[in-house]
């Protein structure tokens, strides 16, 4: 009987109920879209930021004090100015290991490229491109510059870490200056001491690709780490490691501390400006979303309250009649609160669907990618809609329970 009263009451007041449902739906859709995007946004934002490069730079801690005389550098005051390649896997053993998207080691050497009038100095950089590394638990983890520098545009092809020992990926500026293109050979000369020509080593590299990233990489020549280490006699050593960490629940500083604990002789520096900018942007976006959602939900609540108040006023005789037949206040309240709950549930469900479309639009326009629906948003939105609807109905329901049957039945 109760359900019959509810369903018939709804069908009798289709128009007003539709208004209340739309009111709830509008608030729910905005909240749903913002919740969906919010759940996705941290991930998306981090990927967006990661596109601009690594957010951690690992250097040997003793590599910070260089000495020199008359412009000639003699290196660091201590022996340890490299990171051991064999320690790199430890970056993937920190507590937040799952959030380490990738890392790439770098070994730098100034070399001379070309011959005759085209001869010029360039930085030869040994690195991992997409190297399959083995972690200490035996699992494979592919990592390298291709993983952490996803925005690099490479004409030609990438270098195979295992097989392309004489292949090079050259920066766009280097290619321009030397007139090199994919497939060309180039001569690279390396001196252990810049002023000692007798100790010069010369070798040939084949240009396998030209990289354009808009940064320092455009002025460098990349070869495999093994090649660079073999050429410079620094087997097993690297200068720096760039780490790309994806972190939403933890500050990036924690990564740095943990890496320093795992590899005690290194210093892990956060790219502070980038990290703090990320957090400021995220906090602002989340704050804005919360504000918009609150405003939308308050508007919904006002809409529902208006419809429910009208409904109680229009149904005064009905309420009085029910009371005269023995309906207690709690049963009258139960009737109206159930109607409010139905409104909330329908509005919430529709709002979720509309919100999903909105979140797709936001995802496409802001992040240029699809926002993935989050199942957790469904119960959250239904719950929020029910809460808003019930809360907005509390005053009208209170008014309904105050109605005295004798007053309304005699037509006052």
């Amino acid at each position: 009987m109760f359900l019959r009263i509810i369903s018939k009451s709804f069908s009798k007041r289709k128009g007003k109920m539709a208004i209340a449902v739309v009111a709830v739906m509008m608030g729910a859709s905005i909240t749903s879209a913002l919740l969906t995007v919010s759940f996705d946004i941290n991930e998306k934002m981090n990927y967006e930021f990661r596109r601009f490069g690594a957010n951690l730079l690992v250097v040997p801690s003793s590599d910070t004090i260089d000495i020199g005389i008359g412009g000639f550098g003699f290196g660091a005051v201590t022996e340890q100015k490299y990171i051991n390649e064999s320690d790199l896997y430890k970056i993937k053993t920190i507590y937040w290991a799952k959030n380490v998207l990738g890392y790439a080691p770098f070994l730098y050497q100034v070399v001379t490229v070309g011959s005759g009038s085209l001869e010029q100095a360039a930085v030869l950089t040994g690195t991992w491109f997409e190297k399959d590394t083995t972690l200490d638990d035996g699992t494979e983890f592919p990592t390298g510059v291709k993983i952490i520098n996803t925005w690099w545009e490479v004409e030609g092809g990438w270098i195979d870490d295992e097989n392309d020992t004489t292949g090079a990926l050259i920066g766009a500026n280097v290619a321009d200056k030397l007139g090199l293109k994919v497939g060309d050979q180039m001569t690279v000369k390396y001196r252990q001491r810049p002023d000692d020509a007798t100790n010069e080593t010369s070798f040939e590299l084949t240009v396998l690709g030209v990289v354009c990233g808009g940064g320092p990489e455009d002025d460098q020549i990349f070869v495999t780490l093994d090649t660079a280490q073999g050429l410079t006699g620094r087997q097993g050593r690297v200068h720096t490691v760039q780490v790309s960490a994806l972190c939403t629940a933890c500050p990036v500083e924690e990564f740095a501390v943990e890496i320093e604990e795992k590899i005690p002789y290194v210093e892990a520096r956060t790219v502070k400006q980038l990290a703090s900018a990320e957090m400021v942007v995220l906090a602002k976006i989340e704050g804005m979303m919360l504000l918009i959602s609150l405003v939308a939900l308050v508007a919904s609540a006002l809409g529902v309250a208006a419809v429910m108040t009208t409904s109680v006023i229009e149904r005064r005789k009905e309420i009085g009649l029910m009371k005269s037949m023995g309906a207690e206040n709690k049963r009258i309240a139960y009737l109206f609160l159930t109607e409010a709950a139905v409104l909330g549930a329908i509005g919430g469900a529709l709002g979720y669907a509309v919100g999903l479309v909105l979140s797709y639009i936001i995802g496409l326009t802001i992040f240029e990618s699809l926002v993935s629906p989050k199942v957790i948003v469904i119960p959250m939105i239904i719950g929020i809609s029910l809460g808003v609807s019930l809360l907005a109905s509390s005053l009208p329901v209170r008014r309904a329970t105050k109605i005295e049957p004798v007053v309304v039945l005699r037509g006052e």
Partner: protein, 192 residues
């Protein structure tokens, strides 16, 4: 019975636990209802009293049958068979699926009578039940009430129509809020 403003409806509302007296006591079947809380009054009314109003109040979006079932719902449990039986008793077995707007005034009042008697409450209070009906429909409703009285129900009927007043076993006449006469309709009664 009594003229307009004599206090008939006020007295009936108090007996129906819809209103409370400002002073004095009211006993119904041995229970003093003036001391009851609002919730207790509602329960007492639900268990003991059936109401028929001059304006035949019905829930507009429920059928005749559902309106009768609603009284069962708020009383105890819904029994569709019992509700149909009540409607058949008032001669509306064939109109049970009609909406209130599809029923004549007389039919609506008969639905109200069916609703008042469906829970088998012993006391039926009727406030000018024929006041809005034509003579023919009014007679049908009065016949129904007489039938119920004969079937062991106590019916208290308010009217200002002397002809209807004489149909009862006891006639109480009010004037300006006071009982001026109480006795069998045929006798001169006991003037107060």
């Amino acid at each position: 019975m009594g003229p307009s403003g004599s206090g008939k409806t006020t007295l009936l509302n108090m007996m129906g636990c819809l209103d409370v007296p400002t002073e004095g006591s009211l006993f119904i079947d041995g229970t003093e209802i003036t001391n009851l809380s609002q919730a207790e009054l509602t329960r007492f009314r639900r268990d003991n009293i059936g109401l028929v109003f001059q304006q035949y109040h019905m829930i507009p979006y429920l059928t005749a049958l559902e309106n009768v079932m609603l009284a069962q719902y708020y009383h105890s449990v819904v029994d569709e068979g019992g509700a149909i039986e009540a409607l058949e008793r008032v001669g509306l077995g064939h109109r049970m699926d009609q909406m209130p707007s599809q029923l004549s005034g007389g039919e609506q009042q008969r639905v109200c009578v069916a609703r008042a008697l469906v829970n088998d409450q012993r006391l039926l209070l009727a406030d000018e039940p024929t006041g809005n009906l034509d003579k023919k429909n009014g007679q049908v409703v009065l016949d129904l009430l007489r039938e119920l009285r004969d079937g062991n129900h106590t019916i208290i009927l308010v009217t200002h129509n002397p002809e209807i007043a004489t149909m009862g076993d006891v006639l109480v006449e009010l004037l300006d809020g006071k009982i001026v006469r109480c006795g069998s309709p045929g006798s001169s009664g006991r003037p107060r």
